[in-house]
């Protein structure tokens, strides 16, 4: 079972990375959810002993490389976000699906907030509230995935 999960984890992370590399532009770029963080969060809730803070950090480095920014920005944002995800992972079993959505949304926004703070240190300005749109689209994507029957760990006590 472990081997099975292991491959699906890394294949899905790889797929998320390819999604990031797509030549996005215009409105699609502004709405593009953080695929990588979504996949990491999914596996964090589903298989916490195989995908953890270290995985998030490592994948963050690759995203840093793809964005061409300073090394470590996404890595740091993903590390802190997944830390909070891991802490509340066991409580998630008791969450209702709405609560889970709020939880995922706050995690996505947290990662964007950390990136915003890091960028502010580098002298960039706040781009307006549209900056947080990817968190909204990310949650929508999450909900779509759940409604298509993706088990996000919430009902794991029942199975």
């Amino acid at each position: 079972m472990r081997n099975n999960n292991f491959w699906s984890i890394y294949l899905s992370l790889f797929a998320a990375f390819i999604c990031i590399l797509f030549p996005w532009s215009g409105i699609a770029l502004a709405l593009r959810p953080d695929f990588m963080l979504l996949v990491i969060l999914f596996w964090l809730l589903r298989a916490p002993n195989q995908c953890s803070v270290g995985t998030a950090w490592f994948m963050g480095l690759w995203v840093d490389l793809a964005t061409g920014g300073i090394f470590g920005q996404y890595a740091l944002a993903y590390t802190i976000t997944t830390f909070f995800a891991v802490i509340y992972q066991r409580r998630l079993v008791l969450f209702s699906s709405t609560q889970q959505l709020v939880y995922v949304f706050s995690l996505l926004s947290l990662s964007q907030l950390i990136l915003l703070i890091l960028k502010a240190f580098a002298g960039h300005e706040f781009l307006g509230w549209t900056y947080f749109l990817p968190s909204v689209t990310g949650v929508l994507l999450w909900q779509i995935a759940v409604s298509f029957g993706l088990n996000t760990g919430r009902h794991s006590h029942g199975s």
Partner: protein, 358 residues
């Protein structure tokens, strides 16, 4: 690797539900420290440039794969484009080629004339550019920095500092080169500055990217500066990075306020910053600059001249002005326009000197 070992250990020790390895807090501390160390190393020291270069060459095939669907879509679109459309496009292109041919003929004469005038003035030769056609393969994920990746790199003799232009004007500058791709910072990026000249009156200034809204700023110009809405900004060429006379931006807003001694000027880039796929990387070789200073009189070698005309499509956009501007560049800085502010050379172009002093 480490994690895998921990997992095996944990799975023997505890039921899977409780197995977590080191506590989350310990992991958080460790990886946060690693990230901070990496950020400090990357932003302050240059050690990671090689690492980045190697990893990017690993990443390149992935970028090609990610780019494949949209490329396939475009190709099929082109394949199924109608006969009528192709005919119309063919006619339009023929027309365009004709007008450009005429402009090119004039350019040759102007180049010759310019060479002679420069000889008369005993001025240094303006440099011949080389140009490489490149295609955008990736637009940065980051909404703060305006950067794009193109499919030409060190293997295709792209050098850091080359100017990126499209048919309408300057787009940006090559800031990093990898083996088979390179990173271009767009002129709308906050960290990029570009020396410009107002086409109407030759006033020199430095345009900075605004970082958002895809606009450029002209800061530190006095409130009574002679700039109007609709003025065109072209590259001044005094930095030795951008060839002179390329269109950069148009002034769309010019405001003066009581509380600031400086004018608030907003410009819109002329080039298709967001909507072009192909662009031209134009570079002025550093070595030639050295050799030119050695010999006082020289005509452009014919091979360079032909390369120059190959790089012409971008320069053609401002045909009548470019000759006059080149001559103006040859003047000493003060004589060109006393009202202009002698702004310091931008950090992005550090190391380059005005090549047309004297």
């Amino acid at each position: 690797m480490m994690r895998g070992i921990h997992q095996n250990f944990d799975q023997q020790q505890a039921p899977a539900f409780f197995a977590r390895g080191p506590s989350p807090l310990a992991r958080l501390t460790f990886f946060t420290a690693m990230s901070l160390a990496l950020m400090a190393t990357d932003s302050r020291l240059q050690y990671l440039a090689d690492v980045r270069e190697n990893l990017m060459s690993l990443l390149h095939p992935l970028q090609v794969i990610a780019n494949a669907p949209s490329e396939l879509y475009q190709n099929t679109n082109e394949y199924f484009s109608t006969h009528h459309y192709l005919l119309a496009e063919n006619a339009r292109l023929k027309q365009q080629a004709l007008t450009q041919d005429i402009a090119l003929q004039r350019l040759n004469i102007l180049t010759l004339e310019n060479t002679n005038l420069r000889d008369l003035l005993d001025a240094k030769q303006s440099l011949a550019e080389t140009s490489i056609l490149a295609e955008i393969i990736h637009v940065g994920r980051d909404s703060f920095t305006k950067k794009i990746i193109v499919n030409r790199g060190k293997n295709h003799h792209v050098i850091t500092g080359a100017a990126a232009v499209d048919a309408k004007g300057v787009i940006g500058q090559v800031t990093r080169t990898y083996p088979s791709s390179s990173e271009i910072t767009l002129i709308t990026d906050k960290s990029l500055a570009i020396p410009v000249q107002i086409e109407r009156n030759g006033l020199r200034a430095i345009a900075f990217g605004h970082g958002r809204d895809n606009t450029l700023d002209l800061p530190y110009l006095p409130a009574n500066v002679d700039i109007k809405r609709g003025d065109k900004l072209v590259t001044s060429g005094i930095d030795g990075v951008y060839p002179a006379g390329l269109a950069v931006a148009t002034v769309v807003e010019m405001k003066t306020t009581q509380d600031s001694p400086f004018a608030h000027i907003v410009c819109l880039p002329t080039g298709g910053i967001e909507n072009d796929r192909q662009l031209l990387l134009v570079s002025i070789p550093e070595i030639k600059q050295e050799t030119v200073t050695e010999r006082p009189t020289s005509a452009l070698p014919t091979s360079q001249k032909s390369k120059r005309s190959a790089a012409a499509p971008a320069a053609v956009t401002a045909p009548p002005a470019s000759g006059a501007q080149a001559a103006r560049n040859a003047q000493p800085a003060v004589a060109a326009n006393p009202a202009s502010t002698p702004a310091p050379p931008p950090s992005a172009n550090a190391g380059s000197r005005p090549h047309a002093q004297q």
